[in-house]
Symmetry: C3
Subunit: 431 residues, 3 copies
């Protein structure tokens, strides 16, 4: 399909080569439609994407839908209880099958001419067709799906990147948070007027936190890079680590990032596109809330509040912060060179009930503010980067090492043609 | 004009060749802007388009306007009572002349600098210009116009396709419906979020009717293809044919499609882009209304209700269903690769008065429902077809022979460079 | 930067050559995105643009912002009282610095990571960066700025066109109007659905005035070209000139265009892109108001009403009409091949107060009407020019000599690659 050949790959090479080590990326990276198209097939259709939470589709026939760069995908639980994903596209004349964000089906019946697929994706009926149709060749096209620690990942690549490392890392670190036993307290869909890479670059440093996120810096040590932190700050962190570790040794709630500043991520040299770390909080903060006090019942395996913050991320579209009592996640989907749709999720324990166990006006503000402050920054950065006079400046080696890492990771993917070493192609294996 | 050369005609050839016999068309056909541009000049500016009804402009100076792919056209009745069409563009500095959807003019006066054209399109005044302007060279540019059985057709082609076959067919078959003596009871403009070809493919089969149009299948035999209909159904149809024919023999109300299923159309092998057929209705249905009972006074030459349904179609932008008491038409205009504007018309006899002779809430629902059900289907088909994983499936030889015929007709036009064998070029003959 | 090479310059040459002497410009000039891009870098980023009035930023630290084709610019008064302009783009990661239309700053602090620039544009602080950052290389990128007679002009060109001629002409002619001692009574932002060149062509003739601007032709002699005016009209003009001159001799309020019709402008042969002229008004009109009576206190140096109308224009984005008591200006900014943003300003003396000294319902209508009548014309001209059948017609040698002059000026700029002989390039000189 001509759409999926790399168009003017030498032009791409040339653009990729314009980035100067230690500096931001030039203007073209943030507004060129052809580069955007290349990113879609290489990074977004070639890698693993967070699609949703397993608890959203608890029973056979439950489904959720997600559309990535115009390609609709259906994620559903099959008759045997497994999570599967399919291209949400009828094999007859291409109609999108399931239309709602989530729902339940006994079978997948196309609303156009009633071709009917089982929950395993097999074509089981196509009344009205002529003799000789080979139904076995017309099952739904499969999309790769994996579930780990309650998170659902999909890949539209023919040969997706290896998932094992992520599975190993997340199963160990994320289990206590209990994502599989959670529920959604609130979902907000944000339309961010910025390129998806600006959203990530914003996420990959806390250089901007003091000026932009007053509520955030009160709770976390992110702004204190190890080498530059005062002795007092170091002592505070050490105390917090000791406090937490003493309670949780051997129960999976280990502090894995005990230094100030952000843990390094991504790691382009080791090709690491996922991370899961636990950090301590500032004394007086039990959770990421405005006043530090708990805002919901304990989640998962947690037995008291002193668990710090679990932070997980996967390139290119997911992150989550888990406190003792709630977790806040973000799922990114690009919508053009200058627009990104971010779905923000606030999760609580599956048995927590609004009004009784938690109040939205206490649960939401910390990340609602942080999110909206960040989207505003990204919007104005996009406007500046659009200038013909924009010239990338130096990245702070103290505070923006992860922005640099993100850029190097990105360039590596683009040069290699995607995480799996090749761009997305529609998989034709049925079910 | 470089706009009107076929750009990368070999790319076009390649795309056209990707369609597999008996299957739908690949993704590129439904979202590529360059292909869309080629369709505009080849099919839309090269062929005949339904513009409106003759009764809309009964008197000299009455006009209606229509804009096709950004080119505005003026259709008006001239001083001698003939229907003419012109490019609705001033010959001075190009201002659009008449702006309303319809109206009346004594002369066509440009609102910018008052250049004034007669109703025959001649430039009669251009006060303020210097000496030596040759007014005879600056008349409005003519657009071909034809009227048949009360329908107005225009063509912007330099050499439009032959109109004789359509004239002959429509004059005989359509006359009893009395389109020339009708009025508009209601017009609705629909913005359909789908490529214009998806709208036609939807129109060219009733495979989808059982699931989507419960009101429609009660009234019509379209879903019963001859070879697959039960003996009971065949008997019902035969009875209905006999009943109608006995009344109407030799009065022009002949049943021309007496079998179930859709009459074959278009016919790419004979290059037939127009059709007019009369079908019988199911017993108990006098008209296409929700309960089958009449909703308005008889139209045209009809003397009682038993006239079946007159169905007329012309590629690429018109169809109508005429019952004994009303007719419902659709005029298509493309508005980009993913959008089509459909104007729905409900016609009744010219003397029928709302409230007294008909009620809109009884007249409209049958086709309002059918239209909106179809536009919804088309929207979701577009979303699925947009997927990079979309792959055209087999067309039912029993039920989608006309979809196949449409695709073959379309490919033939595109290969030949349009109905007239060459793409549109602005005609420069004045008046 | 590949964006700023002339793409397919031979295609550009070909298009430019399609214009026929004495006729309008062909369709491609008004809808082609590639040509639009070329115009942006050649004419808009290569020339001088009116940005605002000096009185809008009276004190050090006062600023206004303007975005030209996606490139945001900051205009501010520095510590020494000079007006300066900078690319409004942080040298760190490119964020737009000042966001409001106007405001005041002590220093320019980037809202992202607090890089701080002086009002002279020097980077004075970048806390959090690593050692070894050379701040002297990271000042804001300068944009050329000039102030003349209270008007602020900017140029983003590396080597802007010479400004001396304009300075000389405006200082002499515009001084009495007192632009430097005015205030804004009203600003209106219009979104005109037309190419910026159609807006100028409309501005460059009064052929359309009789039919479209009844209020305008009552006040002004524009529609009476010298060679075609009646003896009575000539006498009226001569009387008005004599009346004005007798009062104002040697005070800078000379009638410089004493003939009917529009003064010639622009002058492509002398490369004149600015003009300032004073014309007389029709007897009974003291100002450009609906009834000719004054609508505000006298402005500037004027001592009574009999000053005619001061008209100033600069290509490609500014004009103003100054009466004795108020002035009405327009600042154009293109927003795509089919859209232009026009900011309309109504100015009065700095001490005039709404309600006491002037009423908006008497001040605004004359030009509000004239503006809106013109934008409507331009919109419908764009729709006609979009037609594939549009063919440019002859320009009136009597009435459209300035449209012809505009077209020739435009073609000359485009052929030469811009007013300064070369297209815009980001200037890298700091402060
Ligand atoms: S498109 Fe799905 S059944 Fe026809
Ligand atoms: S554009 Fe029509 S008269 Fe000038
Ligand atoms: S982008 Fe301005 S300080 Fe970082």
């Amino acid at each position: 399909m001509s759409d999926f050949n790399v168009k003017t790959s030498s032009e791409l090479e040339t653009l990729l080569a314009t980035r100067r080590d230690g500096y931001g990326m030039p203007r073209g990276f943030y507004h060129d439609p052809a580069l955007y198209a290349a990113e879609m097939r290489t990074i977004w259709l070639g890698g693993w994407l967070f699609a949703g939470f397993e608890f959203e589709i608890p029973n056979p026939g439950d489904f959720l839908t997600i559309t990535v760069d115009g390609s609709p995908v259906l994620v559903l639980r099959d008759d045997h209880g497994s999570v599967r994903a399919f291209h949400n596209v009828c094999r007859h004349r291409g109609t999108q099958l399931c239309r709602k964000e989530s729902g339940h089906v006994h079978a997948i019946v196309c609303p156009y001419h009633s071709w009917t697929y089982s929950r395993q994706g097999e074509l089981v009926s196509c009344m009205g067709m002529h003799e000789g149709i080979d139904k076995s060749k017309l099952g739904l096209k499969a999309v790769h799906a994996e579930v780990v620690a309650g998170l659902i990942y999909i890949s539209m690549a023919a040969a997706p990147p290896v998932f094992d490392g992520l599975r190993e890392r997340f199963e160990g670190t994320a289990k206590p948070q209990g994502f599989a036993r959670a529920r959604i307290a609130k979902v907000t869909e944000y339309e961010v007027e910025a390129n998806w890479k600006l959203v990530w670059e914003n996420n990959r440093e806390c250089f901007h936190c003091v000026q932009n996120h007053p509520q955030y810096v009160k709770a976390n040590f992110d702004v204190y890079e190890e080498a530059y932190a005062s002795e007092a700050i170091r002592q505070k962190m050490a105390d917090a680590v000791a406090r937490t570790e003493s309670k949780w040794a051997a129960q999976g709630v280990a502090i894995t990032h005990a230094k100030g500043g952000l843990a390094p991520f991504p790691d382009p040299d080791r090709n690491t596109w996922y991370a899961a770390d636990r950090t301590v909080m500032v004394e007086g903060f039990d959770t990421e809330s405005m006043d530090g006090r708990r805002v919901a019942p304990l989640m998962g395996d947690y037995q008291d509040a002193d668990v710090g913050v679990l932070r997980m991320r996967t390139m290119p579209n997911f992150w989550v912060h888990g406190s003792c009592d709630h977790a806040v996640a973000a799922r990114l989907l690009p919508a053009g060179p200058r627009k990104t749709i971010v779905r923000g999720y606030w999760l609580v324990d599956q048995f927590a009930r609004e009004g009784d166990d938690y109040q939205l006006d206490r649960l939401l503000p910390f990340w609602q503010l942080t999110n909206e402050q960040d989207w505003d920054i990204c919007k104005w950065q996009q406007k500046g980067v659009d200038s013909f006079a924009y010239e990338p400046g130096p990245l702070s080696q103290r505070k923006e090492y992860n922005v640099d890492a993100f850029i190097r990771w990105y360039l590596k993917q683009m040069r290699a043609g995607g995480p799996s070493g090749n761009a997305a192609r529609p998989s034709s294996r049925a079910t």
